[in-house]
C-alpha cells in the first residue's frame, strides 16, 4: 500500500507539486544509495563488509527525498467516523464481509519461504549491480513496511466503530509485514539489514487526509501489482535475467497487492462523496499524474536496474502506467488519457528536465548558483506537469456507482 511507494512501488511523495519533485530527485543518485546503506548498517549489528567507507555517517543519515518511499499517517478520528456503521449507511457490509473472507483465506500463508539459492545468487551479484540491488531491496522493504505501519494502526483504531474493516486492515498489515520481512531477509544476503524499529522512529511521516490516503494507496497497490507481475512474467519468458530468486515469488506476492487495492476500491465505493463530483475527478487525475510521473522519474534515474534484469525502463514503465490506468478506471471517476502518445512525450520531456536538474546538483557550484541554475528547469517541469494534468481526461468509474450508460453491455 503506502508500501507501493518504493522502487518497486514507486509512488511516494505523491501529492506535491512538481517543483519539489524535481529538486529532491537529485538525491536519488548512486551516492545516496551508499548513504542509506551506511545508515542502515550503522544502526544495526549486521556486519557491513560490503561498505568499508561508512565512517562519517550515522543515524541522521536518512535522506528524506520527494521520491523516496514515504511513511504515511492520517486523521484517525475522521477515519473512525467514515467507517462508523451507524453514521454511514452507504457501507456495503456484504462487500466488506466478502473481502474479509478473502483476506482470511490467506493465500500466501506458506509462500514466503526462502532457500539457499538466495545467498548464492547474492554472492554472484558484484560490481555496480550489487549496490543497485541493495537499493532496490531497501526501497521496497521500506515501502512495504510503511504499509504495515499505516494498516496496523488503522486496524487498531477502527476496531470499535467497524470491526470488519478493522480486521481487514490488520490482515493487510500481516501481508505487508510478511513482504517487508522477506525483503529484509533479502538484504541479509548482502550482509545488510534495515533497522525497521529505528526507521519507524526516525522517518518523517507524511500526513494525508483519509480521502487522499484512499486515492494514493489504491493507486500504489494497483501499480505495485502491475510492476511485480510485469517483472515476473518478463523473467519467466527470459530466465537468463533471473539474477536473484526473489523475483520468482512475485507472481503470488503481487496477488496480495491486487487484493489490497480491491479493498480500497470498496472503501471508496462506501464513500461515494469521494468519487462522484467534479472535485473527485480533479483529485483523481491529480493522484494518477503524481503517481505515474513519480514512478517514471524514479525509474528513468535507475535504468541500470531494469536493464540489469533485461527490461527497457521506459517501455516497462509505460506498460505499467497503461495497465494501472485501465484498472483504475474501474473506480476513479476520471483517469488520464495515458494511451495518447502525447502523454508519453510529456513524460519523456519531464525525465530529460529531471536529469538536467540532477546534473546541476552534481556540479561544484555553490548552492545559491545551483538553485539559480535550476529555476528555469523547474519552471519547465511545472509547465509540463500542468499541461499533462490538463490533457483531456477520460470519464470512468465503477459500474456500481458511475453514471455509466444504463445500456452498458457486458
Amino acid at each position: 500500500m503506502a508500501a507501493e511507494m518504493a522502487l518497486l512501488k514507486p509512488i511516494s511523495k505523491i501529492g506535491y507539486c512538481g517543483s519539489t519533485t524535481i529538486t529532491s530527485a537529485r538525491t536519488i543518485l548512486p551516492q545516496r544509495i551508499s548513504t542509506i546503506v551506511r545508515m542502515s548498517a550503522a544502526t544495526t549489528t549486521t556486519p557491513t563488509t560490503t561498505k568499508g567507507t561508512g565512517g562519517g555517517k550515522n543515524k541522521k543519515g536518512i535522506k528524506e527525498t520527494l521520491l523516496a518511499p514515504r511513511f504515511y499517517t492520517t486523521d484517525f478520528d475522521e477515519m473512525e467516523q467514515l467507517f462508523n456503521t451507524e453514521m454511514n449507511k452507504n457501507l456495503n457490509e456484504a462487500e466488506f464481509e466478502a473481502l474479509l473472507q478473502e483476506f482470511k483465506t490467506d493465500y500466501n500463508q506458506t509462500h514466503f519461504v526462502r532457500n539457499k539459492e538466495f545467498k548464492e545468487a547474492a554472492d554472484e551479484i558484484q560490481g555496480p549491480m550489487r549496490q543497485i540491488f541493495v537499493e532496490f531491496l531497501e526501497r521496497s522493504c521500506t515501502a512495504e513496511f510503511s504499509g504495515f505501519l499505516l494498516y496496523k494502526e488503522l486496524g487498531r483504531r477502527l476496531k470499535k466503530t467497524n470491526p470488519v474493516v478493522a480486521e481487514i486492515f490488520s490482515l493487510m498489515s500481516r501481508d505487508e509485514a510478511r513482504h517487508a520481512g522477506f525483503l529484509n531477509k533479502g538484504l541479509s544476503d548482502f550482509n545488510l539489514a534495515l533497522d525497521l524499529g529505528f526507521l519507524t522512529k526516525a522517518r518523517k511521516y507524511t500526513f494525508f487526509k483519509p480521502k487522499f490516503i484512499f486515492y494514493a494507496t489504491y493507486l500504489s497497490e494497483k501499480i505495485g501489482y502491475w510492476r511485480y507481475i510485469t517483472i515476473y512474467r518478463h523473467l519467466k519468458t527470459n530466465p537468463e535475467y533471473q539474477v536473484y530468486p526473489i523475483f520468482k515469488y512475485f507472481e503470488n506476492w503481487c496477488q496480495d497487492e491486487n487484493r489490497h487495492g480491491d479493498f480500497f476500491s470498496a472503501l471508496m465505493k462506501a464513500q461515494p462523496q469521494f468519487l462522484n463530483d467534479w472535485k473527485a475527478k480533479l483529485w483523481s487525475r491529480f493522484f494518477c499524474l503524481s503517481v505515474y510521473v513519480t514512478m517514471y522519474l524514479n525509474d528513468t534515474q535507475r535504468t541500470s536496474f531494469y536493464e540489469g534484469i533485461g527490461l527497457n525502463t521506459k517501455e516497462f514503465d509505460m506498460h505499467v502506467i497503461i495497465e494501472t490506468n485501465r484498472t483504475t478506471a474501474r473506480i476513479f471517476p476520471a483517469v488520464l488519457d495515458v494511451e495518447n502518445p502525447e502523454f508519453k512525450r510529456k513524460l519523456d520531456r519531464m525525465a530529460d528536465i529531471n536529469s538536467k536538474i540532477i546534473a546541476i546538483g552534481e556540479t561544484d557550484d555553490i548552492p545559491l548558483v545551483k538553485n539559480l541554475k535550476r529555476i528555469p528547469h523547474i519552471a519547465a517541469l511545472v509547465s509540463e506537469l500542468l499541461a499533462a494534468y490538463l490533457m483531456k481526461p477520460i470519464d470512468s468509474g465503477s459500474v456500481d456507482i458511475a453514471d455509466l450508460d444504463p445500456q452498458l453491455v457486458y
Binding site: T73, E97, A98, Q101, E102, T105, V113, N312
Partner: protein
C-alpha cells in the same frame, strides 16, 4: 504519532532477528476457517465459521436468503449457485489477472485438499432464466460459477464489469450445463507488454467436468 512509533518499533524488532522465515510477522491471524469446512455443505454452513465474531450481519442475511429459498426443506438435493457473467472476450482474453486469480485459487484448494467449488462455464444454459441479464450481454458469454456466494461477491468487486446473480439447481450437471461454442480471440494487433500473452485455452482446466452421459 507516538502510538504509531511505539507500535512500529515493537512490531519490527523481530524483523532483523528473524532467523528462519518471515512467518514471524504474521501476527497470529492464521485463521481460514471457512475454507476448512466441507465444500458440499449449503451456504449457510460455510459462512458460519468459528472465529467470525464480526459476521453477524451477513450471516443473518445469508440465512434469510437461504431459508426463503427452500434450503431447509431440500438441503439434500438443491444447491445454490452464484455467478458473475460477462462476454467471453472480457472474461477470458482481456483480464489477464483473472486467470492468475483463478489459478491461485486452484493452487490453494489443492494445497488444502479442498474440493473445487468454482468453474468457468461458456455459454451457460442457466442464462435462459435471466432475460434481464441476457439482454445486456454480448455473446458468447462466460460465467464464473461457484457454490461460494461470498467469494463470487468478491469477484464482482474485482472484475466490476460483470453482472451478478444466483440460482438453484438439483445437480451440478444441471447448474453447469453449457451450449457448445467455439471460443477464439484475435491476436492483439499491438501487444506492447514485455512478456507474451497467456496462452489461449488456459480456461480449459476450469471448465466443468464432462458428465458421464455426454462422454459416452
Amino acid at each position: 504519532m507516538s502510538l504509531m512509533k511505539s507500535l512500529g518499533a515493537s512490531a519490527v524488532v523481530n524483523v532483523p532477528a528473524a532467523a528462519v522465515t518471515t512467518t514471524q510477522l504474521h501476527h497470529g491471524t492464521h485463521s481460514f476457517p471457512f475454507l476448512s469446512l466441507p465444500q458440499h455443505l449449503p451456504k449457510l454452513n460455510t459462512t458460519t465459521s468459528i472465529s467470525w465474531k464480526t459476521t453477524t450481519p451477513v450471516r443473518t442475511a445469508v440465512a434469510a436468503i437461504n431459508s426463503s429459498d427452500t434450503v431447509e426443506k431440500e438441503t439434500e438435493s438443491k444447491k445454490e449457485y452464484h455467478f458473475v457473467v460477462a462476454n467471453a472476450k472480457f472474461m477470458l482474453d482481456e483480464e489477464e489477472h483473472f486467470q492468475e486469480q483463478l489459478f491461485e485459487r486452484v493452487r490453494l484448494f489443492k494445497e488444502r485438499n479442498m474440493e473445487q467449488d468454482f468453474w468457468l462455464v461458456i455459454e451457460p444454459k442457466f442464462l435462459d432464466k435471466f432475460p434481464n441479464i441476457t439482454k445486456r450481454l454480448k455473446r458468447p458469454a462466460v460465467a464464473l460459477v461457484s457454490t461460494n456466494g461470498t467469494w463470487i461477491k468478491f469477484m464482482k468487486l474485482r472484475l466490476d464489469r460483470v453482472l451478478l446473480d444466483s440460482f438453484e439447481a438439483e445437480s451440478m450437471e444441471e447448474a453447469l450445463a453449457s451450449n457448445p461454442c467455439n471460443i477464439e480471440f484475435e491476436k492483439p494487433s499491438n501487444w506492447v507488454a514485455p512478456y507474451p500473452k497467456y496462452e489461449s485455452g488456459w480456461w480449459e482446466s476450469l471448465l466443468p467436468p464432462i458428465p458421464q452421459t455426454q462422454q459416452a
